[in-house]
Every structure is written in C-alpha cells, then in structure tokens.
Amino acid sequence: MILALRAASVVAFLLLWEWAARVPVSFNFPSPWATLTALAALVRSGALLDASFTSLQSLVLGFGSAVVLGVPLGLVMGVVRPVGRVARVYLDLLIALPTAALIPLVILSFGINVASSAVIVFVFSAPFVTMNAYGGVRDVRPGLVEMAWAFDASWGQLFTRIVLPGALPMILAGIRYALSRAFVGLIVAELLLSPFGLGRLIMASRSMFEHDKMFATVLWTLLLAGAALAALARMEARLLRWRS
C-alpha cells in the first residue's frame, strides 16, 4: 500500500512537471526527460562527478565538524545545567541567524577556499546537532537516573549506560536533520560565496539559460542528499535496534 502510494506520488509529480514544461511556466523550462538526458550527459562528461568531489570536501569538513563538536557540546549542556542555560540562548540565536547575509564576512575571515564553505555548512548544521543532543539528555527518564543512583552507579556508568543510550535517538535524529541543512548550506555557500563544485555548475548553466543542466545538477544534489540521508537512517536503525 505504502509502495503504491509512493509510486503514485512520484508519477503525479512527474506529470505535473511535464505539464509545467509544456505550458511552459517560464522561459526554457525543462521537461523531466530533458533533465534526465542532461543528467546523463553531465555524468558521462565527468563534470558532475568532479563538482561533487569538490562539494563533498566542504560538506564532509563542515558537517563532520558539526557532529564532532556539536554532539559533545549538547551532551555537556544537558548534563551540566548552568552550561545548558547559557549556551541555549546562543544556539537559539544561531538557528534564527540569517546565515546567507554573513557570507561576505566569512570570505574575509576565512579566505576564498573550501574552508569558507565548510564554515557555512557548519553554521547551517551545527546548531541542530547540538540542540538535539541537549534535548536528548534532558529527555532521559528521571526514573532511570534515580534507579542508577539507587544501584550505586558511578558518574561514568550513569553517562554511558543511561544518559547516552537515552539521548541517542534524539542525537541521531538531529544528525539526520542537520545533514539536510548541511546540503542546503553547501549550495548556498557555493552560489553566494565563491562558485565552485555543484554551485558553480548550477550558476554556469543558469547564466547560459541551460535550464535542463541546471535542473539536472539540482536533481543530482537531491539524489546525493537522499542517498546520504538514507544511509544515515539505516545506521540509525542499526544503532537503535536494542530498543525493539
């Protein structure tokens, strides 16, 4: 049933897209077929793979740093309440921050290179990783903590046996959400900061009104993001198998 619904939604989307191309809703609006053809051509030429390799460097650097720094910070915020109360304000501000407006400042501070776009990716994703880790710790059932204390558990045991497993579902959900934000940040950075990677490909095809190539690159980015998210979901299911 679910599969049928999914297939129906995809078909409906493709039909709507085809209709938009036939009208057309805007100048040179590409059809799904033209987009797929352009995608195949871009893959064959190697342009898409080269661009993906460049973009993924920023993504891995920025998103990796967000996870490596964000999760421990969130855990500390959750365990040490005063730290949580202070840091939460900054996290709320970071989430509401119009990050794109800061891009010129990022260029001047970090230079025009992969590091700059990694910083943007980090700013887009890190607050969500941290916030979820913090929320995960806060949501650990007090009854379990009390029980651990009653059994004379040490701080280390409490953290590794109760707090961390309890917070893990939220941490992983945060990482998954942050990954999708990281992809958004990556493209924003590459379009506004200094076009390289997939952003450069999008910008170049947009300038030449090659909208089929532009859509193909966007579609490829969606496929990459989808694959990464699916991989994370799989890892999440495996790590949380103990719950079922």
């Binding site: 805007s26 891009i103 260029i107 910008m203 009104f209």
Partner: protein, 327 residues
C-alpha cells in the same frame, strides 16, 4: 434638496476631473535592473527625463542577478531591462527580447598589488572575478587569450565589485577585476598600494544593452522610441557636464556625496556612447561585438551563423538619431 443635488453633481464632476477621461491613464513602464550602481546613473536620469517630459511613469525593480533580469523581461514582468552577458545566450535559446541601444561599454579594470608590475606576473596569482559567465569574466577570458602563458588562479566572488574591492584591500586576493568606481575606492582607501594593470574600458564591445520585450516593442513602438530618445539626451547632456547626472538623479544614490559622485561619473563618461552604441549593433562593429560573445562562450560558434538583427532592433535608435543627429 436643490443644494444637495448641486453638491452631488459638483462632486461627481470633481471626481471625473481627478480620474480623467477613460483611456487617458498614464503610461507605465517597468524596468528590471541588477542592483543600481554609479554606472547606471545616466540610465536612471534618462528614465527621469522620460517621466518628466513624456509623462510615462517608470518603475525600476532591482533583481539580484542578470539572469533573473532576463527571465523577468522575457516573462513580461518588466517591459524593459538592462541586458548584460546573459542577454546573448537568452536570444540564442529563442528568448523574445531585443537590444535597442547600448547602455555602456565595459566599465571594468583589473587592479593588482603594486608588486605585480606586469600582466605576465598575474600568472598563478589569486585574481577575483564575478562569476563564470559574467561580463567581467568574459572580458578577462577574452583578454587572457591574447596573453599566452598567463593563467591567474581565478576565484569567484559574485557579491559585486565592492566585495571584490574589499577582498583585494584585505589581502584575500592579489588582484581583482571590478568596475572603475571600485578602483577609485581602493585608491582612496589604500593610496599607492594597488594599481590598474588592465583597462577594459577601451574594448570595442558592449557591456550592457537596453533590452525590451519583443511583444511590448511591437505593441508600443512609440514608447520605446521615447525611451531611447531620453536615454540619449541624458547621455549627451551628462557627457558635456557630469554634474547634470548628479543634479538630476533624484533619490538614487543619494547616500553618495555629490562631489565624489561627480568624480566617479567623470571617470566613467568615456564608456557611454553618444550614438547609443550604433557602431556595435550594426555592420562590422556588431560582428566584432558578437565575435567577443562567441569567443567567450556566451554564444555558440561559428560566428558566421549570427546576424546582428537577431539581437538588435535598431528602428527606434535610427529614428531618434535621425531627429537628434549623430555625434
């Protein structure tokens, strides 16, 4: 009752006078442009003349990118637009738009640290440019083709000339391609530290054109002609005395001091053609202009497949020049 009726009739008459006769509504024109800069001021003044002298209301809408401007005018969201490099690929893809006059020749220069004394020394250095298909990048690529062995490490900063000037001033890059006014700002802020290495302002190509929606041009040729006329009048009066542009600019760029603005406009005067760029839209000049677009990849080759008429509609400019005379 009689007084009430008289008041009512007078009221209706007054309303009728305010509204005017049916069909006499003022003409309105929407011009789509990328963010207004000093180089656009002569055009803005031309639009103000059009409002004042011809009673045509003009709305200027700024969009972020030249591609968005092109899409807007193709879609009819604006009847007129400033056309930069994306104008050419748009026409190649069948966009119903035509250039009716040149707005400016290139206003760009390459500025570098004073330690970089020749173009050859640009090889391998970090040079900031706008974006892959921007006019300034096209000019740069075109120029570098004539300099074998010179391959700067081009980094793109698509935030506009001021951002590239800032990057140069802060040492994020060693050279940058931007407009003349940004070069003046760099010289003011860091005198003697940077110099103009390449000047594109004498290149015989159009940097931007006044582009109209073809359907609008067909329906309202008289409005297009009036627009071209006021533009040329603005260019000619401003070329005689740039203070004219400063005086007539209205609220545009009011944040810039009059004296400073006049200085910037004096530096730019040479890029505004007093004949609307006719020489680059017809005959051998037009072929050279289109050749530049082919060489930089904005148009597919070979050049022989392109006719200037596919890009430019010179009827309004011809009519205006017949009236005003050529310079």
């Amino acid at each position: 009752m009689t007084r009430y009726r008289t008041t009512l009739i007078l009221g209706w008459l007054a309303l009728g006078l305010i509204a005017g006769p049916p069909g006499a509504a003022a003409e309105e024109l929407t011009l789509l442009a990328t963010v207004t800069r000093v180089v656009n001021l002569p055009m803005i003044v031309g639009l103000r003349l059009l409002e004042r002298e011809d009673g045509i209301r003009v709305v200027v809408k700024d969009l972020r990118s030249p591609e968005a401007v092109m899409l807007g005018v193709i879609d009819g969201q604006g009847q007129v637009a400033t056309g930069f490099a994306p104008f050419y690929p748009a026409v190649e893809k069948g966009a119903p738009v035509r250039g009716v006059m040149e707005l400016s020749r290139p206003e760009f220069v390459v500025m570098a640290k004073t330690e970089i004394t020749s173009v050859k020394e640009l090889n391998g250095v970090r040079l900031a440019s706008h974006s892959p298909k921007a006019t300034v990048q096209s000019l740069l690529e075109f120029y570098l083709k004539s300099q074998p062995g010179v391959r700067p490490n081009v980094v793109f900063i698509p935030e506009g000339s001021p951002a590239r000037a800032e990057a140069l001033l802060r040492g994020a890059v060693d050279a940058a391609a931007f407009d003349l006014t940004a070069a003046q700002v760099v010289n003011e802020r860091a005198p003697g530290k940077f110099h103009i290495l390449v000047d594109f302002t004498d290149q015989p190509v159009s940097s931007s054109s006044l582009v109209v929606n073809a359907e609008f041009a067909r329906k309202k040729p008289e409005v297009v002609q009036k627009l071209v006329r006021r533009m040329l009048e603005s260019y000619r009066q401003g070329a005689r005395d740039p203070r004219f542009w400063v005086r007539e600019r209205g609220q545009t760029l009011k944040e810039i001091d009059d004296g400073k603005l006049e200085g910037q406009l004096r530096a730019l005067v040479k890029i505004f053609d007093l004949n609307g760029g006719l020489d680059r839209m017809r005959g051998p000049g037009a072929i050279e202009n289109l050749g530049f677009q082919v060489a930089t990849g904005n148009l597919s080759g070979p050049l022989t497949k392109w006719k200037p008429e596919a890009f430019f509609d010179l009827a309004p400019l011809d009519a205006v020049l017949k009236d005003l005379g050529q310079r």
